[in-house]
């Protein structure tokens, strides 16, 4: 058999039978001629009649928001067909029925919510096959066994404990393949590439729907109109919303701006965190219910995040952080995305979240990699990863912005890790001062308190050593940590510290 034309062309051919192609049967194929008009009316079909525009507008007017995408599809279909059948100028759009989805009140959209849900509860085959009955007599094909033998060779290298009974079932496609291998041209791995070539990728020219798109977006009013608050009271206690917000108790932005100033002043003067946190939460709530997303919003979240950091309230901080991430990604001007990205990196170190860390590293732009705060956070990450505690505690003392507060959340953990390594490796002991300096303590007293807190106070010893040489030799007291004895204590404390990473408000 010579190479059939469809193979030469490189496409997956519809299989012709082995005989000569028959001429198209005109009886059945009556469709062909007139339907295949060359698409030359490009100019014409990019024009929308005004009546059609009004029709589109009407469609969306009555359309429940959750049906919008479905309606869009239906509309496109209607319009495409109208163009295709050249009826776009003849249809009476004023009386043309609206797409059904646009008229339906509401649909159960549960199927749209979870992309993993296979919504078929029990997709058991409902009907016995009509054909199956015909084939009951068919004996299993001999070729199966050969195929399986080959297969076993391949598989037995990987698992040897397979038993014979596993092998009895043969793959059904083997049989059908056998029947027609010679004349089937396998699509091959480049099917997509061929399609890519045929229908060029990255088309930039506007298509017939571009006008329709702009119309659509003009009509696209938000589903729930945000409320506009009327309250002028600066302070408000935070209450979780249980019903629709009442405009009378919601403060509009110009009032909220005054609130923020008041809160800043009060925070400086009184430093009362539970009051401030409560007030900020109600402030954020008023922003949310009014759909306010602007530089002021960013400012509010940033300030609240910083205050929460200062107070070590990581749960609240994290809520602000994730809101901020959204706001930054919407490119709302103002704000300090770099500062907060650096916090995020430190925060992920705290939570030991490696996969999110991976993501954030992958997301860094060249500009971000030049930012001082981000560079610092990355250096901290590197120091933790390589167990370089010397470097780590240097960075701790040198953290920009509020980074030090974030590092506070895992500084003890890192100290215990460092102490474990130190106690494992130094003999016979290690100078107490060395620990104070290496582990970033303010002074010896703070260091001692830390050791005592972790039940290691007993291992601090004062011993006499000689200092100087010859005549100038004198005895001095030297405070040390007995490393070998302290080892198990720190090991246990370290293990406990790393086990507990649990904060409310974490995403």
């Amino acid at each position: 058999m010579t190479t059939p034309p469809w193979r030469a062309a490189g496409g997956t051919a519809v299989q012709r039978p082995g005989f000569h192609p028959v001429a198209v049967r005109k009886t059945l194929g009556k469709a062909s001629t007139q339907a295949s008009q060359p698409p030359t009316q490009a100019a014409r079909r990019t024009q929308f009649p005004d009546a059609l525009k009004a029709y589109v507008a009407r469609t969306f007017e009555h359309c429940p928001s959750e049906n919008k995408s479905e309606v869009e599809v239906a509309l496109k279909k209607i319009i495409t067909e109208a163009f295709e059948n050249q009826t776009v100028w003849s249809i009476d759009w004023a009386t043309h029925p609206l797409p059904t989805a646009a008229r339906r009140a509401s649909v159960d959209s549960s199927d749209m919510m979870d992309i993993s849900s296979g919504d078929e509860a029990s997709p058991i085959s409902q009907q016995p096959s009509v054909n199956k009955l015909n084939k009951l007599g068919k004996a299993p094909n001999n070729t199966n066994n050969n195929v399986n033998n080959n297969k076993r060779k391949l598989g037995s290298r990987i698992t040897s404990e397979r038993n014979e009974s596993d092998r009895e079932v043969s793959r059904p496609d083997k049989r059908s393949k056998k029947l027609n291998t010679s004349d089937y041209s396998y699509e091959g791995p480049d099917a997509f590439k061929r399609l890519d070539r045929k229908y060029k990728r990255h088309q930039t020219t506007k298509n017939v729907f571009s006008q329709y798109h702009s119309m659509h977006s003009a009509l696209d009013s938000p589903a729930f109109a945000p409320i506009v608050g009327r309250s002028t009271t600066l302070e408000k206690r935070y209450l979780r919303l249980t019903s629709a917000p009442d405009p009378a108790t919601v403060r509009p932005q110009h009032v909220l701006e005054k609130t923020l100033e008041l809160l800043k002043t009060k925070w400086k003067a009184e430093n009362n965190y539970s009051y401030i946190c409560d007030q900020f939460k109600s402030l954020r709530q008023d922003l949310t219910v009014q759909h306010l997303k602007n530089d002021f919003t960013v400012n509010v979240y940033e300030i609240h995040a910083r205050i929460a950091l200062e107070k070590g309230d990581l749960g609240e901080y994290n809520q602000c952080q994730s809101q901020l991430a959204n706001l930054y990604s919407e490119r709302i001007p103002g704000g300090h995305p770099h500062e907060f990205k650096a916090y995020r990196i430190l925060y992920l170190l705290y939570t030991c979240n490696r996969s999110d860390m991976n993501d954030i590293l992958a997301s860094l732009t060249p500009a971000e990699k030049q930012d001082r705060a981000i560079l610092h956070a990355l250096a901290v990450r590197g120091a933790v990863a390589s167990g370089n505690f010397h470097r780590f505690f240097r960075l701790y003392l040198d953290a920009p912005n509020m980074g030090g507060y974030l590092m506070d959340s895992f500084i003890d953990r890192q100290r215990l890790a460092a102490l474990s390594a130190i106690c494992k490796s130094y003999r016979p002991d290690v100078p107490f001062r060395h620990i104070t300096e290496e582990l970033g303590f303010e002074n010896d007293a703070e260091c001692e308190a830390f050791l005592v807190k972790h039940n290691a106070g007993q291992f601090i010893k004062t011993k006499q050593t000689t200092k100087g040489e010859g005549d100038e030799q004198q005895m001095v007291d030297k405070v040390t940590l007995e490393t070998q004895k302290a080892m198990t204590t720190f090991e246990a404390a370290k293990a406990a510290a790393f086990k507990k990473v649990d904060i409310k408000g974490q995403i």
Binding site: Y186, P366, H376, A379, L395
Partner: protein, 89 residues
């Protein structure tokens, strides 16, 4: 405690080898195979396996190679420097 950190992180140079650049741009989807089924002799590592695909990450025998030699030179130099420093003192 000295506060100067001699290892202040500095931005990486962003020179990438060409191969890396190409790989960065590529889509990384697992591709369809040229066939659906193949026999053992068409697999990457058939039957007896291939030798020398993996090596240990340490090489404790090799002492003659360049790097070790250079390192020894460097250590000698450091020792000498130290000795002369002590002499001067």
């Amino acid at each position: 405690m000295s506060s100067k950190d001699s290892k202040t992180p500095k931005p990486e140079e962003t020179k990438e080898p060409k191969a890396v650049k190409k790989m960065l741009e590529e889509d990384d989807e697992f591709e369809d195979f040229p066939a659906e089924e193949w026999e053992e002799d068409e697999t990457e590592v058939p039957g007896g396996g291939k030798p020398n695909l993996w090596e240990e990450s340490w090489d404790d025998d090799d002492l003659s190679e360049d790097f070790s030699k250079q390192l020894r030179e460097e250590l000698k130099r450091v020792d000498a420097q130290k000795a002369s420093g002590e002499m001067q003192r």
